[in-house]
């Protein structure tokens, strides 16, 4: 199982192992990562699973589609490396992925 790192709003590092195929958001929710709200459960309808991806990893992810782009543009403090974690399926290649959870969602 790939291991991913979430840096919670408090600064705490959470290393989580999750099966290939689930989304980064699901890995966070199952393990109660602070700050990942994920109200819509992965339908790309709420922008409450927003994360900042560590720049080294950005190029390894499938780019944002138009729907995700539109959600993020008006989300809380979007940045170049903003992603919705529900739109990132975990693969073996993503072992070591590091993301930071913003202070607010929505």
């Amino acid at each position: 199982m790939p291991k991913v790192v979430f840096i919670e709003p408090s600064g705490e590092r959470r290393e989580i192992a999750a099966p290939v195929g689930v989304s980064l958001m699901e890995a966070a929710r199952q393990n109660g990562v602070d700050g990942i709200v994920a109200q819509c459960g992965g339908a790309c309808a709420c922008a409450t699973c927003h994360v900042y991806v560590s720049p080294a990893w950005l190029s390894k992810l499938k780019p944002r589609d138009e729907m995700e782009e539109g959600m993020l543009e008006n989300a809380w403090h979007p940045r170049e490396n903003s992603r919705l974690s529900c739109q990132i399926p975990l693969t073996a290649d993503l072992d070591g992925l590091e993301v930071t959870v913003p202070e607010q969602q929505g």
């Binding site: 689930v22 699901e26 929710r29 199952q30 393990n31 109660g32 602070d34 109200q39 819509c40 459960g41 339908a43 790309c44 309808a45 709420c46 922008a47 138009e66 729907m67 995700e68 782009e69 539109g70 959600m71 543009e73 008006n74 989300a75 929505g106």
Partner: protein, 404 residues
């Protein structure tokens, strides 16, 4: 000091309340009673990816058992509450067990409204509410099966789309003159009806079902105008009814839901309620509402938890909803009731457009079809009571947030 919190009903609101209670430091006894044999799970995929077989069952629960064990939550599944003894501050379950509480939260949801016409009791007539319903429906969704959907609302149309994707011959019957008539503008209804027809779903509006016929299982649907539709399976999505008996029998005021205030409090200071079962005030919209939505269950579950811990928290969020049908996403924010102006943004033929609702110049709701940017901008604008200019709204070249 609160020592036992008891939650009756194990859906979205319950999952959120449990999470909030422990996150906020509640370290007393926490008991969750749910009538389904499943940990709290997400319902939205039931009519979509889960029905289609694209999402495994173990991805439905918000959290797995380890979370509940780790947070010392006593989870009682497959159990129903029979009555609330308010004087004794305890709930009696149907199996006779009694659970005492200091604070009680009712998150008992809503149930499918059932058909009452002759033949409604035939087998092959399905409702879609829980995992068990999906298991029964999925078995019948074979390529070529004739599936008749009664009701052209969210559940009906999402189920119709999924059945069609699985190769069924699908007919959707709607009593009103257009699909989703209670929840969206006519241009949005027309867009979705057209999408369904293009994909091969037969949509029939202005038709009222009067009778179901069949030897043991349903074979035919008969409508008021005499038209008939042959069916191997029937899926009924004609709305939901809030579960209020438990509260009403205990003497708590109920009126289209368990009546609560903006802090999720019922008339009994020890009893709170959250989610689809509540009738609550919307401060932003100045009226009482009962909402069937993930967002509302989530926010009320959280607010109820904080209020149960004596941390006054008002539930005052702008509601939002979504629906996925074929490759279209409908995103709705706000409540359009009482609007005095409706503005179309963009051309439905481009497959991405929005409908804005204004009341006295204020933006109160927006429906976005495949347009997440407008939807997200509207969420903020509605909360902030923005007053956009109608002519700018109508110009899709002007970003929504710049239309003020």
């Amino acid at each position: 000091m609160t020592s036992t919190v008891l939650i009756i009903g194990g859906g979205q609101a319950a999952a959120q309340a449990v999470d909030t209670l422990r996150r906020e430091g509640f370290d007393g006894r926490l008991v969750l009673v749910g009538d389904e044999p499943h940990l709290p799970y997400q319902r939205p995929p039931l009519s979509k990816q889960f029905l289609a077989g694209e999402l495994a069952a173990d991805r439905l629960p918000f959290r797995h058992q380890a979370f509940y064990d780790g947070h010392r939550v006593e989870v009682r599944l497959g159990k129903r509450a029979a009555r609330i003894d308010r004087d004794g501050r305890r709930v009696v379950l149907e199996d006779g067990e009694e659970i005492a509480y200091d604070r009680l939260m009712l998150s008992i949801g809503a149930r499918s409204r059932e058909l009452t016409c002759p033949g409604a009791e035939l087998s092959g007539v399905h409702y879609l509410r829980g995992i068990a319903d999906v298991a029964a429906i999925r078995e019948g969704l074979k390529p070529g099966a004739r599936v008749v959907v009664i009701g052209g609302g969210y559940i009906g149309l999402e189920t119709a789309a999924t059945a069609r994707k699985l190769g069924c011959a699908v007919t959707a019957l709607e009593m009103a003159d257009r699909v989703m008539n209670r929840v969206v503008a006519s241009s949005v209804s027309e867009y979705f009806a057209h999408e369904h027809r293009t994909q091969g779903v037969k949509i029939v509006c202005n038709t009222r079902v009067v009778r179901l016929e069949g030897a043991r299982s349903v074979e035919r649907v008969v409508c008021a105008d005499g038209s008939t539709y042959e069916a191997d399976m029937l899926i009924v999505g004609v709305g939901a009814v809030p579960n209020t008996d438990l509260a009403a029998d205990a003497g708590l005021p109920c009126e289209n839901g368990i009546v609560v205030d903006d802090r999720c409090r019922t008339a009994d200071p020890a009893i709170f309620a959250a989610g689809d079962c509540t009738n609550h005030p919307s401060l932003r919209f100045g009226m009482r509402v009962r909402l069937e939505s993930v967002d509302n269950a989530f926010e009320q579950g959280k607010a109820a938890a904080l209020n149960m811990l004596d941390r006054p928290t008002v539930h005052d969020r702008v509601p939002w909803f979504w629906s996925d049908q074929f490759d279209n996403k409908l995103l709705i924010v706000g409540l359009s009731q009482g609007f005095d102006q409706q503005v179309l943004r963009g051309d439905p033929a481009t497959r991405g457009f929005s409908v804005c609702y204004l009341k006295g110049g204020e933006l109160i709701a927006l429906e976005a079809v495949n347009h997440s940017k407008d939807y997200m901008a509207a969420r903020k604008m509605i909360a902030e009571r923005a007053r956009p200019a109608a002519d700018k709204l109508a110009d899709p070249q002007v970003a929504l947030k710049d239309a003020v």
